[in-house]
Symmetry: C2
Subunit: 203 residues, 2 copies
Amino acid sequence: MSLAHAILGFLREQAMTGYELKTLCFDHDAQHFWTADQAQIYRTLEGLEKRGHVTSRVKRQRSRPDRKVYSITPAGVEELDRWAATPAPLPPLRDPFLIQLRFADRLSDEDLLHIVRERRSAMQQRLDILRARAAEEAKGAGRDAILHRLTLGAAMSDARSTIDWLDGTLETLSDLIEQEHPTEPGTQSRLFARRTDERGSTS
Amino acid sequence: MSLAHAILGFLREQAMTGYELKTLCFDHDAQHFWTADQAQIYRTLEGLEKRGHVTSRVKRQRSRPDRKVYSITPAGVEELDRWAATPAPLPPLRDPFLIQLRFADRLSDEDLLHIVRERRSAMQQRLDILRARAAEEAKGAGRDAILHRLTLGAAMSDARSTIDWLDGTLETLSDLIEQEHPTEPGTQSRLFARRTDERGSTS
DNA sequence: CACAAGTATATGTGAAGACATATACAATGA
DNA sequence: TCATTGTATATGTCTTCACATATACTTGTG
């Protein structure tokens, strides 16, 4: 269970509540490699406590709901290290967009180009966000900081290469469409308008 | 539900049984963009039949279990086209390996390099398989064939860029380790042995 | 001859994830 | 003052996916 180990990882850095794990860790730090639901986090914490990988103590608060602060146990640390050193199988290839593309032969030219362009723009947006985060966290030469930066780099490299592939795909498809029903010069439709920028935020 | 639409796509090309969908389609054609369990396929077919997107008729066989051949209905075709033209949200970034890397700061140098190298080799293997498939199916200039090749290209481009990132990561980590505890010339450990090939099958 | 592999469908079960909703109170802002 | 936002935990339910197992007959292999 990956989520459990991600939680152990964050708790090893600092004891925290479920709420903090969600808002500080999963919504920011881990955003580019693991996203998690609030409900899932709480239920996973329960499970970890049952297994003795974490412990909790409740802190009373007058003005707010009580905080249940979770700490990692030695058994939890051991489990995390064991898991982190065990090569995991590759995640299965599974992308709904590629299903769409695979079976897009009956789509109109407009719809076909549209879904690819939308995909590109969504990817560009993701890349922009990643770049912003990378710029923020550019400091630190310790092992931690370097590992953290490497994971960000993985996400960025992935987004970047996907965008490149989408651009190639767009060209292939444009050529195909043009070839299927050639237009006279001057009659060229807006469909084939070239992108104006290659890398910048397309927003 | 992506699986349902993938099934509709294959059935639009040809009426088939659940068994054929599994062995001919999902284990081969769709291997690089959607994998599916046999049980899932059968249950999804049931659901599609209830919704009127497919119909089935049973063919008696003396020597073998009966075949239940599924065909797509007009409603199914409509649903598929509608779905294929609707831009889907990006799949969430979620990779257990990046969790491992993010929290690998307490791993030994050996373990750290080991999981990255293992990952590289698994990716290389995936890429080799994809290349073999691309070589087999290099024919065809129709829309179908081109779209199919594009999806293969997506998977290959992804694997390739991941390998590049892993190579960069390996260098970063080697440098880091060397810097943390420098070795005298001649004492250099096997840890830092360079890869012998960049792109070929590392097997 | 025994055993494995291929053809074919189906069910049981459990984990993981997605989404909604309940509770409770404080501070902030329109 | 009324509504929203933030802090904080918890439960319910549904879908998707993964893994195991049952059934049944045939063909090929050692």
